[in-house]
Symmetry: C2
Subunit: 341 residues, 2 copies
């Protein structure tokens, strides 16, 4: 592997807090300086910022951070250490009125070079042990083939104590549609597409966004994009419904990696997946979908099966579906049939 | 844990061979002496035998073995080492005309006392490494929460190379209905029920079978049952369709364990699960169902969700569904709400 290796695979942390009794409490009142100090623990920095009435979106030196009233999402790649900021973050959240976590998700794909990671991220077991010190009822999963192509998830749910499906599927009082998240994690990408995300091709990030077709994936998103020197690309998108999307690209051929994530509410993610895959042309990819209504996940599951197993160049190498106390999860893995991957 | 601890949790190996070109080739022509010699590697012995035109069924000192024309099932508990007989078994199978494996499944629940196991069964990683020396394209999975309550599966499928769903769902030329297997693995069982499976209660196994209601679970099965001294119970059942069932009981209160397994063909396993659970009264149990038609698995999945999540004392703590190249798998885990488990 090249000396200039970069681990594009992100660690993704998402935390939901119980509604505060004080309607003015808001995680978005955490100051820029406080975030900057928290991110020192993670080993990354804020490089761009956008917001609307629903959500604050930060582009980081390593990926992204999204903050809304009672939800925090931190997604960081490279050898960052997001779990190291968990304790100080929970202290700050507590000072802003958010003391009780209702749901926590920590997830990542298997690293390309796990041996380069720093504690407590040297392996999933280490990450689980670390999280277990906070959440004695947390659960840990490995989807896909253990020790090969797989995706790890640690999840804690306050509703694990009793069945709260009905509570969770009630309409929320905000417009975030917080109960759906899709991730598409792509590897072995088309070098021609990847060449668009280099400074020698475009000097401005917006040109990469337009020429690649990223702007057409979810056209209603207000885009905050960033092109790294000499190569690499990050973008956050937010729309007026409070939905977000985020894309991170490591274009180098030996370790190319692109991640797409969004909480956009759709009945079926098949068309979105198709568009993302057609935009980036990976040799293999993983899809994960969290949804709190089983029918949505199952619809997509059935759709994906047909789309990718029988009618296309994609071979579905794994598909798993998990029912958690307050969410259902779909995991699927695909390999392009005619590529050496 | 008591000094007289016994690991009831079984290691389950199931191997399917490609149809031999010679219609007379049959794994059932492997001689009793050859089986006895193979089982020396496993550290167990044959203690009873029954058969019909479709299947040979052996009760072993540690669990069971089933042999049909081109399928072999070995299920052994305690500190047995079933993987150690894999290489000599494949040699013998080859001499009987079966050289090509189409599907292999090696599975087990997490051990109660993993530290007591013998190589290559000291951990799932060790088992995977061992199996990978035979099957370079094997895949390994952990369903349920890693390192806690979970169920491990290693699977190899010849059809992993290309999609063979259609081939697999064609009608087989025998009546075995080989494409469905249900396992129900129960722990923390009702001591009153467990007391039926002791020599001081009944001197004959058939009395335990009748009094417990085991004979009513699948009434068309011809039963070969065995009661161990001072306690413990094993039974094999086979019917005229070539279907089998097998139950193994470790009744001691500190480490009680009951396993039920069958390849009986049903559209929906809900009633069967209910009957097994009502017969043995566990504090917690795991269900796994393999089926080669997705609709069957999904039907049961939906049914189980309703049955056990909202209308009963059972809390569904985990439910996962996996699509493999030639089989679908449903995994579900349940905890009795009012018991300290």
């Amino acid at each position: 592997m090249a000396n200039n290796f970069f681990e594009g695979v992100e660690k993704l942390l998402e935390i939901w807090f119980e509604e505060s009794s004080n309607p003015n409490d808001d995680l978005r009142s955490i100051s820029r300086t406080q975030w900057e100090n928290l991110l020192i623990f993670v080993k990354c920095e804020i490089i761009s910022f956008s917001r609307n009435q629903h959500i604050d979106a930060f582009v980081l030196s390593e990926s992204s951070m999204f903050v809304s009233k009672r939800r925090w999402i931190l997604k960081t790649c490279g050898t960052t250490t997001p779990l190291k900021c968990l304790s100080p973050f929970l202290e700050i959240a507590s000072l802003h009125g958010y003391k009780v976590i209702t749901d926590l998700f920590y997830s990542r794909k298997n690293f390309i070079k796990p041996e380069s990671q720093i504690a407590p991220h040297k392996g999933f077991c280490e990450e689980v042990c670390f999280l277990d010190t906070f959440f004695p009822n947390g659960r840990s999963y490995c989807l896909g083939s253990i020790n090969l192509e797989c995706w790890y998830l640690y999840t804690f749910s306050k509703s694990d104590i009793k069945n709260q499906f009905k509570i969770k599927s009630d309409k929320n009082d905000d417009n975030l549609n917080p109960d759906q998240t899709i991730e598409i994690l792509m590897q072995n990408l088309d070098p021609k597409v990847m060449s668009l995300f280099c400074k020698h091709k475009f000097s401005k990030a917006c040109d990469a966004t337009l020429n690649s077709g990223i702007d057409k994936i979810l056209p209603d998103m207000l885009v905050d994009d960033f092109l790294f020197d000499p190569c690499g690309y990050s973008m956050n998108g937010i729309n007026c419904k409070g939905e977000y999307m985020t894309i991170h690209i490591t274009p180098e051929e030996n370790f190319s990696y692109v991640s797409f994530e969004s909480n956009v509410a759709l009945n079926n993610y098949r068309m979105l997946i198709n568009q993302v895959v057609q935009t980036f042309k990976p040799g293999k990819f993983i899809v994960t979908i969290f949804a709190n209504k089983s029918s949505l996940a199952y619809e997509t599951m059935k759709g994906l099966e047909i789309e990718y197993s029988t009618q296309s160049h994609w071979k579905q190498t794994d598909m798993q579906c998990c029912n958690f106390p307050s969410y259902n999860l779909l995991f699927a893995q695909y390999l392009y049939r005619n590529k050496n991957t």
